[in-house]
C-alpha cells in the first residue's frame, strides 16, 4: 500500500517535471518552425508568380510606403526577381517624348495605379448578384498562376539553355497580364461584345514600346463606327500606358520584338 503510494507520488512528480521543463520548450519551438517554413516558401512563390500573377504585384504595391511589416508571413521581397537574369545594362530610355521640352526627359516614376477589384463582367445584374454574390470566373488567369507549379517549372526549366525555344506560356501570360492591367474597357457601349481589335506592337530590347498601331484592316471600321474607334483607342491606350513590358528574356528578343495583340472583350459580356 505504501509502496503504491510512493510510486504514485513519484510518477506524478515525474509528469509535473516533464510538463514544467518540456512545455515551454514546445511553445518556444513552434514559432521558430513556422518562420522557417514561410522563409523557404515565399521565394519560390515569388519566382513563379512574378511574371503572370496579378495579385502578387498588387499585394506588394502598398509595401514600400509603409514601415517594414512586423512579422507577418511576409518576408522582405528578394531584390531582383530571378526571372530577369542578365538584363542588358541600363537603357531606361524614356518612351515617346521626342517632341517635348528637355526638362521632362528625366525618367519619371511611373505612378502605381490604385489596386483594382478583380473584374468579372462589364455588365452588372442585381438578380445574378442575389443568389450567388460572386460567380467564380470560368477561366481565371489568377488561379492558373498559383496552380500547377510543375507546368511552370517545366516551362522555366528549358529557358536557360535553349535559346531557340518559342516563348513559354508563362512569358506570354506575363505580357498579357501587364497589358490587361492597363486596359480600361469601354463597357456599356452598343454591341461592345462584338468588337475585336488587333494591334501591331514592336518592342525595343528593354521592353519599351517602339511602335504601336491598329491593324490596317481594323482601321477602316474605326472611320465609320465611333464605338469601334473608342474600343480601338482604349486598346492602344492600354499599350501606351504599359510603357515597358517587363520580365522578358533578352536572349529571346527576336521572338518578342513583334507582337500581334488581339483585344476581344467578348468574355466580359458573357
Amino acid at each position: 500500500m505504501q509502496r503504491a503510494m510512493v510510486i504514485s507520488v513519484l510518477l506524478h512528480l515525474a509528469v509535473i517535471t516533464l510538463v514544467y521543463v518540456g512545455a515551454p520548450h514546445l511553445f518556444e519551438n513552434s514559432p521558430l518552425q513556422e518562420a522557417v517554413t514561410t522563409a523557404t516558401f515565399v521565394p519560390i512563390a515569388e519566382a513563379r508568380n512574378l511574371p503572370n500573377a496579378l495579385p502578387v504585384a498588387e499585394a506588394r504595391e502598398p509595401e514600400p510606403s509603409e514601415a517594414p511589416p512586423p512579422q507577418v508571413e511576409d518576408t522582405p521581397p528578394p531584390p531582383p526577381p530571378e526571372v530577369a537574369e542578365p538584363e542588358p545594362p541600363p537603357a531606361p530610355a524614356p518612351v515617346e517624348v521626342t517632341a517635348l521640352p528637355a526638362e521632362i526627359q528625366r525618367p519619371r516614376p511611373k505612378p502605381m495605379p490604385p489596386a483594382r477589384l478583380d473584374f468579372e463582367s462589364a455588365l452588372q445584374s442585381l438578380e445574378k448578384m442575389e443568389p450567388a454574390p460572386r460567380v467564380p470566373e470560368p477561366e481565371t488567369e489568377t488561379t492558373s498562376a498559383a496552380a500547377d507549379p510543375i507546368d511552370q517549372l517545366l516551362a522555366e526549366a528549358d529557358t536557360p539553355y535553349r535559346l531557340d525555344t518559342p516563348l513559354s506560356q508563362t512569358e506570354v501570360d506575363a505580357i498579357r497580364s501587364q497589358i490587361q492591367r492597363n486596359w480600361n474597357v469601354p463597357a456599356g457601349a452598343r454591341d461592345a461584345h462584338e468588337m475585336r481589335v488587333t494591334l501591331r506592337l514592336r518592342l525595343r530590347r528593354d521592353g519599351t514600346i517602339e511602335h504601336v498601331e491598329v491593324d490596317e484592316r481594323d482601321r477602316v471600321r474605326m472611320q465609320s463606327d465611333p464605338f469601334y474607334r473608342t474600343m480601338a483607342e482604349s486598346a492602344e491606350r492600354a499599350v501606351r500606358k504599359t510603357e515597358q513590358i517587363q520580365y522578358l528574356s533578352p536572349e529571346k528578343y527576336e521572338q518578342w520584338r513583334d507582337i500581334k495583340l488581339t483585344f476581344d472583350p467578348r468574355e466580359m459580356y458573357g
Binding site: 521632362i104 452588372q124 505580357i175 490587361q180 457601349a189
Partner: protein
C-alpha cells in the same frame, strides 16, 4: 526503312509547323478593367478676373457632368503640374501623364462688351499625345452653363463613342404635402439639377409627363376638367391643349413617336383599355390593340416601326411587342414576377421595364426579343424608367416608405445600363415620374456663329 521515312516526314512536319510560330507571337487580351477614365479639366483661361472666374465655373460644371456619368474621374485641379495659363498651343503631355490623366480638356474664354461669351475648347489624348476634338462657341453670358454642358458632351462623345446627354433637361412631378392631400406640380430642371422651376401651380393633379423627341414640348396626364386627359404643352409658352377627341372617358399613358409627329396612349371606353395612336398633324386616330384585357403603357421603338406595351392578357402583367399598326403581338417577358411600363431605348437595343416580384420592385432592361434580362436597381417601390437621349443612362423614381405614419421619401435616381453608378438626383421636393428631354438644339443658344 519505312520507320526512317516516317521519322523524316514527322521531322519535316515539325520544322514546318514550328518555324512560323517563332516569327511573331500572337496574344489575345480578353479581360480588362472597367473604371472611370481619369480626365483633367482645366479652367478656361481668360484675360480678366471675371473671365477667369467664369472659366473656372465652366470647368467645374464640365467636371460635374463627366463625373456624374460614372465613366470619367475628373482629377483634382490642385494636382495639375502645368497650370492652365501655361498651356500654349500644345500641352506638355509628360506633366499630365505624370498625374495619370488619360484625357485633358483645355480652353480659352473672353467676354465681349455685347454680353456674349466666346469660348474655345480642346480635348487631348495624353498617352498618344494627340489633339482629339475642339470647337469655338459664342453664347449669351447667362447661358454659360449650356456652354459647359456642350463641352462636356463633346468630350464624352469623343472618348466614349456615344452621344452626350448633358445638354438636356428633366421634367418631373414635384410632390409636396401630406399623403392624403398631396400636391403634384410639373417641374423642369437641367439634367444636373440647375435652373429649376415649376410649370404648373398644383391646383390640378398631373401625372406621367413625357418629352417630345424633336421639340421642347411635353405631353402629360392632367385632371384639369375633372377627368384624366392627355394634354400637350409647350414648355416655353406654357400653352396647353387636350390631345385628340376620344370617345372614351379616360386617356392615359401618352408617349411620342421618335419622329415626334405621333402619340400613342391608352383609351378606356366602357371599362376596357386599349392602345390608340394619334397622328398629331392629321388628327387621325387608330386603335392598335383589340383585346378584353388591359393594354397600356405603350412605347415606340427607336425606328418607330414597333410598339412595346404591357398587358394582363396572360393573367398577369407582362411586356409585349407589336408592329406599329397593331399586328404581330408577341409576349417577350417570361421571368418570374410581373412586368410593367416598358420603355424602348432611343438607341434601340434595350427595353427598360419595372418588375415586381413579391413585395420587391426592380428596374431592369431586356433585349427587344426578351433575352438578356438584367435588373439594374431595386427598392420598396421603384418605377417609371426614362432614357437619356443616348440610351446609355436610365432615370426612375424610388419611393422609400416613412416609418410611424410619417411621409416617405420619393426621389429621382439615375443608373448606367451596365448596372453601375447609381446616383440620386437632388430635387427641392419629393419627385416622381421623371422624363428626360432630347438634346437641346444648339441654335437655342441664341445668336452668334456656332463654329464646330
Amino acid at each position: 526503312m519505312t520507320g526512317r521515312v516516317i521519322g523524316l516526314v514527322f521531322g519535316l512536319f515539325a520544322v514546318a509547323t514550328t518555324a512560323p510560330a517563332v516569327a511573331q507571337i500572337e496574344i489575345d487580351i480578353t479581360r480588362g478593367q472597367v473604371e472611370p477614365v481619369p480626365i483633367a479639366v482645366t479652367g478656361l483661361v481668360g484675360g480678366t478676373g471675371p473671365e477667369r472666374q467664369l472659366g473656372a465655373d465652366i470647368a467645374a460644371v464640365v467636371s460635374g457632368d463627366l463625373d456624374s456619368s460614372g465613366l470619367f474621374r475628373p482629377l483634382d485641379p490642385r494636382s495639375f503640374l502645368q497650370k492652365p495659363n501655361q498651356i500654349g498651343v500644345v500641352p506638355r503631355f509628360g506633366d499630365w501623364r505624370q498625374i495619370n490623366a488619360q484625357a485633358l480638356v483645355t480652353g480659352k474664354l473672353s467676354v465681349g462688351g455685347d454680353g456674349f461669351v466666346d469660348a474655345e475648347f480642346r480635348l487631348w489624348d495624353v498617352f498618344s499625345e494627340q489633339y482629339l476634338i475642339g470647337f469655338r462657341l459664342r453664347a449669351p453670358r447667362n447661358k454659360w452653363r449650356r456652354v459647359a454642358h456642350l463641352i462636356a458632351d463633346a468630350a464624352y462623345q469623343r472618348i466614349t463613342g456615344e452621344e452626350g446627354y448633358f445638354d438636356t433637361r428633366i421634367v418631373y412631378v414635384a410632390e409636396t404635402g401630406p399623403t392624403e392631400a398631396r400636391i403634384k406640380r410639373l417641374a423642369i430642371m437641367d439634367q444636373d439639377g440647375a435652373n429649376h422651376r415649376f410649370l404648373t401651380d398644383g391646383r390640378h393633379l398631373v401625372l406621367t409627363p413625357r418629352f417630345s423627341p424633336t421639340l421642347q414640348e411635353i405631353t402629360y396626364l392632367s385632371y384639369l376638367d375633372g377627368h384624366p386627359r392627355v394634354y400637350i404643352r409647350n414648355i416655353d409658352t406654357g400653352q396647353q391643349e387636350i390631345l385628340g377627341k376620344f370617345r372614351g372617358n379616360m386617356t392615359i399613358a401618352p408617349r411620342f413617336s421618335p419622329g415626334g409627329n405621333k402619340v400613342v396612349m391608352s383609351v378606356t371606353l366602357d371599362g376596357n383599355t386599349e392602345i390608340h395612336e394619334l397622328d398629331l398633324r392629321t388628327g387621325v386616330q387608330l386603335q392598335l390593340t383589340r383585346h378584353p384585357a388591359i393594354d397600356t403603357a405603350p412605347s415606340y421603338s427607336a425606328d418607330g416601326k414597333r410598339v412595346t406595351f404591357e398587358s394582363d392578357r396572360s393573367g398577369t402583367q407582362q411586356v409585349y411587342v407589336m408592329n406599329a399598326d397593331g399586328s404581330g403581338v408577341k409576349r417577350i417577358s417570361f421571368g418570374k414576377g410581373r412586368y410593367a411600363t416598358p420603355v424602348w431605348s432611343p438607341r434601340g437595343d434595350w427595353i427598360a421595364f419595372t418588375k415586381s416580384r413579391g413585395s420587391v420592385f426592380y428596374i431592369g432592361v431586356m433585349r427587344p426579343d426578351g433575352n438578356d434580362e438584367r435588373l439594374l436597381s431595386t427598392g420598396f417601390l421603384v418605377e417609371g424608367p426614362t432614357w437619356a437621349p443616348n440610351g446609355r443612362v436610365l432615370m426612375f423614381f424610388r419611393d422609400q416608405p416613412g416609418g410611424g405614419g410619417r411621409n416617405g421619401r420619393v426621389r429621382l435616381v439615375s443608373v448606367d445600363i451596365t448596372g453601375r453608378n447609381e446616383r440620386e438626383i437632388v430635387t427641392p421636393t419629393d419627385a416622381s415620374d421623371p422624363a428626360w428631354s432630347p438634346l437641346i438644339p444648339r441654335k437655342a443658344l441664341g445668336s452668334g456663329p456656332d463654329v464646330r
